[in-house]
């Protein structure tokens, strides 16, 4: 099988992994609610938030790596001048 692009690998290994965890946490919060264990829901939501925050950090890192001179604001300004 063809070796994936390093960024595709990073998106899979980190971002999708974190989003998978986030999905799991939403299901956990729903299940806790159904079981009447509301006192445990806030901690689960905190873990969900943490997984989503980590996803955002990863995506920002990937966007920074993808930034080329042509898409960079400074570069566009210089080009216009």
């Amino acid at each position: 099988m063809q070796e994936p692009h390093p960024l595709a690998r990073r998106i899979h290994d980190r971002v999708l992994g974190l989003l998978g965890t986030a999905l799991m946490k939403t299901e956990m919060a729903q299940t806790l609610g159904k079981l009447g264990r509301q006192d445990e829901v806030p901690a689960t939501l905190e873990e969900l938030r943490s997984a989503l925050m980590d996803s955002i950090v990863e995506l920002r890192g990937i966007m920074a790596e993808l930034r080329t001179p042509a898409t960079d604001d400074e570069s566009l300004k210089n080009h216009a001048a």
């Binding site: 099988m1 899979h12 290994d13 999708l16 992994g17 974190l18 998978g20 965890t21 999905l23 799991m24 946490k25 299901e27 956990m28 299940t31 806790l32 079981l35 264990r37 445990e40 901690a43 689960t44 873990e47 943490s50 997984a51």
Partner: protein, 234 residues
């Protein structure tokens, strides 16, 4: 978090013994907590890499392993191959974010009996655990069509002389029982053979029909019209 003291007594001797292998600890924790709410399933161990999962599964006598593909040290596909070499009775279900058919085929070739996406609901994962523990195979509906297309292509290329004609009467019976989801032990009982004899005959059979594992053999039986119908099976 998610303590079990409010649950009914757990870990009965008849429970399906499951090992979770994933390098994302939070994902593992969540899956464990939710699966343990399911009747008849006990999480006996966890692993965060492909080497640890082999040791833990064998030591704790797992029935089913839920295995991620991307793991450190040894990946989930290699770990599956090695684990099944040590104990072919363990049912491995790949639980991955990969939906590409290449990964699915690699997983089936490695001997996995299930392939689910991590976007599956826990009730679906629990269903797959029960199915695989009872000797059946299960694929995520989103990857099934590509697998069916691939095996259709394979079966179109084959002729009856490709291997079916070379099978003895007993081998055909074994193949039928494999396609019905029976374990070696069950086949041995059914045909009054030793379990080791069934294992040996299966290796010869796989070679004759050109397949690598039970899943491929079952699909071969279906595509060649020798699999028993649902009424006949078991």
């Amino acid at each position: 978090m998610f303590s079990h003291e409010r649950e009914t007594p757990r870990g009965s001797a008849n429970d399906i013994r499951v090992v979770l292998a994933d390098d994302h600890q939070l994902f593992r924790q969540g899956l464990k907590a939710l699966l343990e709410l399911e009747r008849g399933i006990t999480i006996v161990g966890e692993a965060s890499d492909g080497l640890e999962v082999q040791r833990v599964s064998l030591e704790l006598n797992a029935n089913v392993v839920l295995m991620d593909i991307n793991m450190p040290i040894v990946d989930g596909l290699s770990a599956t191959r090695e684990l099944l070499r040590a104990n072919s009775e363990i049912g491995v279900i790949i639980l991955s974010m990969h939906h590409e058919e290449g990964h699915v085929f690699q997983a089936l070739r490695a001997g996995a009996r299930g392939y689910l996406l991590k976007t599956s609901k826990v009730s679906e994962v629990a269903g797959a655990v029960r199915a695989v523990a009872s000797g059946l195979s299960l694929l995520d509906p989103t990857v099934t069509s590509s697998v069916v297309s691939e095996f259709k292509r394979m079966s179109n290329k084959q002729t009856p002389e490709d291997g079916l004609g070379q099978l003895t009467e007993t081998e055909i019976k074994i193949l039928q029982h494999v396609s019905a989801g029976m374990s070696n032990k069950e086949i041995a009982l059914k045909l009054s053979l030793a379990e080791s004899t069934v294992k040996n005959r299966l290796s010869v059979l796989f070679e004759k029909i050109g397949v690598l594992d039970r899943t491929q053999a079952a699909i071969y039986a279906i595509t060649h019209g020798i699999a028993p119908t649902a009424v006949q099976s078991r």
